[in-house]
C-alpha cells in the first residue's frame, strides 16, 4: 500500500447528562436520550454497518461518556425508550393518514415510519436494547476506536481546587468504561476540552495515553509547537496532547460557512409538534399541552426569509455526498500544504459532538459515512486514523505543556463560570472537601456494610452534582430550573449522607431510596477518594465517635478522634 502523506482523525464525542427518574412514570428530560438514540446513535450504527458490509477501510474514534454508557445500559431507560419509539411510530401512522392528498408530505410520513421501524429493529432485535453491544462489535473489527471521558463530565479546570475531585472524575470514568466495554481506553476526552497544566498527571495514573485540547492549547504551549497543531505534544510524562484543527472544525461547526446550513438539508426548527393543531398533536407533546419537537419534520432549510419547502431526502443525501467529497478534497489540499514544512506526516484532528450528527444536522451520519468512503478511495492521500494508531506509527514527539484552554465560548472557562452559574462552585468545593474528610476518616478503618454503602453513595451524589451540563444549561438559559434542581438535589443528598455517616445514624430505607434514584457507577468506592498527601489538611478539631455496633451483624466499635 502506498504511504499516505497525511492523516485525518475524526472524533465524535457522545455525551448526555445522567437523566433517569424512576420516581416518575415518565420524565420529560429523559427524551434527550431517546432523541439521541433515534437521531444520532442508531443512524451512526447504520452507517458503520454499511461501511462494514462494503469492506471500507476506515478509522473513526468515538468517545462515550460514562454517564451515557450508564444510561445506554440501564434497563429502565431501555424499556422507556421502546415505549417512546412506539409512540413515535403511532404518530407516523397517524401522519400517513392525515397527509393523504398531499403527496410530498405523505411520502415523508412514510419515510419516518420506515425510519422508526428500522430503528426499532436495530435497537431491540439486533442489539437487544443495548447499543453498547453495537459499539463493542465495531470496535472489535478494528475500525472504531472507543475512548471515554470524566465520570459525569465534570469541568475539571474548575474542580481543580481539590485534586481528589479531579482524580475521582477521571478514575471512575475509566473504571465505568472498562466494566461496560471490557477493555481500557487509550484516549480520554476532557470534558469541554477543559485542560490545565498538571492534568496529565492524573491521566497518566489512570492509564491514559492521549487526550485532546482546543487549537490554542497547543498554539500557546510552553514551547512554540514546531508542527503547529498537526502533531501531538508530549506533556512530559508520555501522555500526548492532540489539538483540534480549526479549519476542518469550521467547515462543520460554523453557522455561516458550515455544511449543516445548506438549503437542501432538513430544517431542525420546523416540526409538527409546533405546526399542527393542538387537539391533534396533544397526545405526543409534553403533558398534552406544551409544544415540543416530535422529530417529524417536513421541511428543508430552503433559505433565509423564504417560505419553507418540502424536504427531499434523496436530494439531501446527494448533497451530503458532495459535502463529504469537498471535505476530503480540502483535507487533501491542507495535507499537501502542511507536509512541505513538517518533519513527519501531519495529523488533522477533527473532533465534534456526536449529537450534532443526526440531531442538529439530520444528514450528518451520511456525511460522515461518505467521508470515510472517500478517504478510503485511491484518488487521494488522506488516510483516516485514530490517535492511538498515529502514536504507534510516529513515536517521537516534541516535549511541551499545553496551555490551559477549553473549546467553549472564548476558549477558556467563561461559559462554566459567570453570573448565571458561579454560585455552584463554593458548594461543589465544600462537598468535595467534606468527601475528602470522610474518606480520610475511614482510612484503614473497617466500615460496616451500611457505612460502606452510604460512603459510596455520597461519592455518586457528589459526582452527579459536578456534571458540567448544569452550569452549561444555566448559561444557555434552556432548562435552567431543572439544572438548578439537579445540583441542589444531589448536594442535598450528599449532605444528608455526610451527616448520617458522621452521626452514625444511617437510615437504610433512605439510603435505598438514593441508591435507586441515583443508581449510577456501581463501581464507585469511597476508599479511592482518599488522597494521601492531603491527609493532614483534612484533620480538624472535632472529636467524633462512630459506633457501628448498632448495626446488624456488627460488633465493631470505632473511636474516631479528630478526623471528622
Amino acid at each position: 500500500m502506498a504511504i499516505k502523506k497525511g492523516f485525518l482523525s475524526i472524533i465524535l464525542h457522545a455525551h448526555l447528562p445522567f437523566v433517569r427518574h424512576p420516581e416518575y412514570d415518565s420524565f420529560f428530560e429523559e427524551i434527550w436520550l431517546f432523541e439521541a438514540i433515534t437521531e444520532c446513535y442508531v443512524p451512526l450504527i447504520r452507517s458503520l454497518e454499511r461501511l462494514h458490509k462494503d469492506h471500507v477501510n476506515y478509522r473513526l474514534t468515538l468517545s462515550l461518556s460514562p454517564s451515557l454508557i450508564s444510561m445506554l445500559s440501564d434497563e429502565l431507560l431501555q424499556s422507556r425508550y421502546l415505549a417512546h419509539l412506539n409512540k413515535q411510530l403511532e404518530l407516523a401512522e397517524k401522519e400517513i393518514v392525515r397527509t393523504r392528498g398531499t403527496d410530498k408530505y405523505q411520502k415523508l410520513a412514510r419515510f419516518y415510519r420506515r425510519l422508526y421501524l428500522d430503528t426499532q429493529d436495530i435497537f431491540a432485535r439486533q442489539y437487544n436494547c443495548n447499543l453498547l453491544t453495537a459499539f463493542k462489535k465495531f470496535s472489535a473489527t478494528g475500525h472504531l476506536e472507543l475512548i471515554t471521558c470524566a465520570a459525569t463530565h465534570g469541568f475539571l479546570p474548575l474542580l481543580n481546587k481539590s485534586e481528589a475531585a479531579v482524580r475521582n472524575q477521571i478514575n471512575i470514568g475509566v473504571q465505568t468504561f472498562i466494566s461496560h466495554l471490557g477493555f481500557a481506553p487509550a484516549g480520554f476526552w476532557l470534558p469541554e476540552c477543559g485542560y490545565y497544566p498538571g492534568l496529565e498527571k492524573h491521566l497518566k495514573n489512570a492509564g491514559i495515553d492521549y487526550f485532546f485540547v482546543d487549537t490554542h492549547g497547543i498554539d500557546n504551549a510552553s514551547k512554540a509547537p514546531r508542527n503547529s497543531v498537526y502533531a501531538p505534544l508530549n506533556c512530559g510524562n508520555n501522555v500526548m496532547a492532540f489539538a483540534r484543527d480549526p479549519e476542518s472544525s469550521r467547515q462543520v461547526w460554523s453557522s455561516h460557512e458550515g455544511y449543516p446550513g445548506d438549503y437542501d438539508y432538513r430544517e431542525y426548527y420546523s416540526d409538527i409538534g409546533f405546526d399542527l393543531d393542538m387537539d391533534y398533536i396533544a397526545p405526543y407533546i409534553l403533558d398534552g399541552h406544551i409544544r415540543i419537537n416530535t422529530g417529524i419534520k417536513y421541511h428543508r432549510v430552503t433559505g433565509a426569509d423564504l417560505a419553507k419547502e418540502a424536504y427531499h431526502p434523496k436530494k439531501a443525501l446527494y448533497k451530503a455526498q458532495q459535502h463529504a467529497h469537498d471535505f476530503i478534497n480540502k483535507r487533501q489540499r491542507q495535507i499537501n500544504r502542511l507536509s512541505a514544512d513538517m518533519d513527519r506526516p501531519p495529523i488533522i484532528v477533527s473532533p465534534y459532538d456526536a449529537e450534532l450528527f443526526g440531531h442538529w444536522w439530520f444528514e450528518g451520519p451520511q456525511w460522515l459515512e461518505w467521508v470515510m468512503r472517500f478517504a478510503d478511495s485511491d484518488s487521494n492521500a488522506v488516510q483516516t486514523i485514530s490517535c492511538a494508531d498515529y502514536l504507534t506509527q510516529v513515536s517521537s514527539h516534541q516535549l511541551a505543556t499545553p496551555s490551559a484552554s477549553t473549546w467553549g465560548d472564548q476558549g477558556y472557562s467563561n461559559f462554566w463560570i459567570n453570573e448565571t452559574n458561579d454560585w455552584i462552585y463554593p458548594l461543589l468545593h465544600k462537598a468535595g472537601a467534606d468527601m475528602e474528610q470522610l474518606a480520610t476518616a475511614f482510612r484503614g478503618v473497617k466500615a460496616s456494610p451500611l457505612q460502606e454503602r452510604a460512603l459510596n453513595q455520597a461519592v455518586r451524589s457528589l459526582l452527579l452534582a459536578q456534571a458540567s451540563d448544569w452550569p452549561f444549561i444555566m448559561k444557555t438559559g434552556t432548562t435552567v430550573e431543572y439544572a438548578r434542581k439537579r445540583i441542589t438535589d444531589h448536594l442535598a443528598r450528599f449532605n444528608y449522607l455526610r451527616d448520617s455517616i458522621r452521626n452514625n445514624a444511617i437510615n437504610d430505607r433512605y439510603l435505598c431510596a438514593m441508591e435507586i434514584l441515583d443508581n449510577v457507577f456501581p463501581e464507585a468506592n469511597f476508599r479511592n477518594y482518599y488522597l494521601p498527601k492531603q491527609e493532614s489538611n483534612a484533620t480538624i478539631s472535632i472529636n467524633q465517635k462512630i459506633q457501628v455496633n448498632s448495626l446488624p451483624n456488627s460488633s465493631i466499635n470505632i473511636d474516631q478522634q479528630g478526623v471528622l
Binding site: 455525551h15 416518575y24 517521537s396 458561579d422 452549561f472 442535598a492 430505607r509 433512605y510 431510596a513
Partner: protein, 288 residues
Amino acid sequence: MKLCQSRYNSQCKLSQQDLLDISEEITRSYAPHESHHQPELVLMPVDPVNLYAYWNLNDSDSNSDNIINNTSKPLALRIYSLPELSESASDIKLSFDIKVQGFQNQQKVHLPIAASAYSAVIGEINADNSFSTLATAETIHVPRDSPVTENSPDDDADTIVTGQIQDNNLITHHTHTPLLDSNPDFTLQDSAVMMHTGQMQESNLPLTQTPSVSPATENKPVTESNTNQAWYERLVLANFNDFGYDLKVYGNIPDAESKISLSGQVLNIHIVPKTENTMTKNSSGLGR
C-alpha cells in the same frame, strides 16, 4: 403498585411515591448552603484576564457566628500579581485592592496586568489604613493568551521517543516567557509614561486613562503568608488604566536604591488591553 429495589438491599422495596417523598424531604432539609469550618478565600482562573474569587469569612469554630457582622471596618480583596517579566524582575510585586461589601461573598476580577500567577488576601482596612488579613488564597495560574516566542535551538533535544521518559520528569507548570518580545500590546513604556522613583510624568501618548501616580503612603513591609517574604510598598498608580483599581507596586528590597531598579522594571509591565474575543462557542448536544 410498582416497587423499586436497591441493588445493594433487595429486601427494601420502595414505591415511586416513597422515592419522591424521600427525595423531597432530603432536599427540603439538606439543601446546600455555604457553611465552612474556617475562613476561606478561593481564586479560580477564568481566562487570561479574569479570575473569580469567592470567600467565606464565617468561623464556626470561634465564638462569633460571623466575622463580618462583628465589624464595621471596610473590607477589601487584595489581589497580588506576578508580572510576566524576565526572571530577574522577580523582586517586584503588584497588587490592587477591590472594596467589597459585607454581604458579598464572591467577585469576578478583571485583571489589569498580564501575569501568569495571582494570589490574594481578603481583610479589613483599619483606621490607620493598615490591612488586617482575614483569609488567604492559594496562588493560581491563569491561561497563557498568546504563543511563546521562538524556541531556542536546544529545544530539539526535547523531542523524545515514547516510552523513554520517566514520571519524575513530569512538567506541570509552563515556563513563563516574556510577552514583551512577541506581543503587540502596549506596555507602560509604550505609553511613554515616564516614572522616576516614586513619581511619574505624563506624556502625549494615549493610555486609556493616564494613571496618576503617588508615592506609597507607607513603607512598612507586608509579609507573604506562605513564604514569609517581606514586600515594601513603593508606588501607587491611582485608577490604573481606568480599571477602577489603584495599582500598588512592591519591592522586596528595603533600601532606597531598589526604587531605581524597581522603576525600570515597572516600565515594562504588560498592561491588559481592552479587547473583545471573537471566538465562537460550540453548540453542544441534546439538552445542553
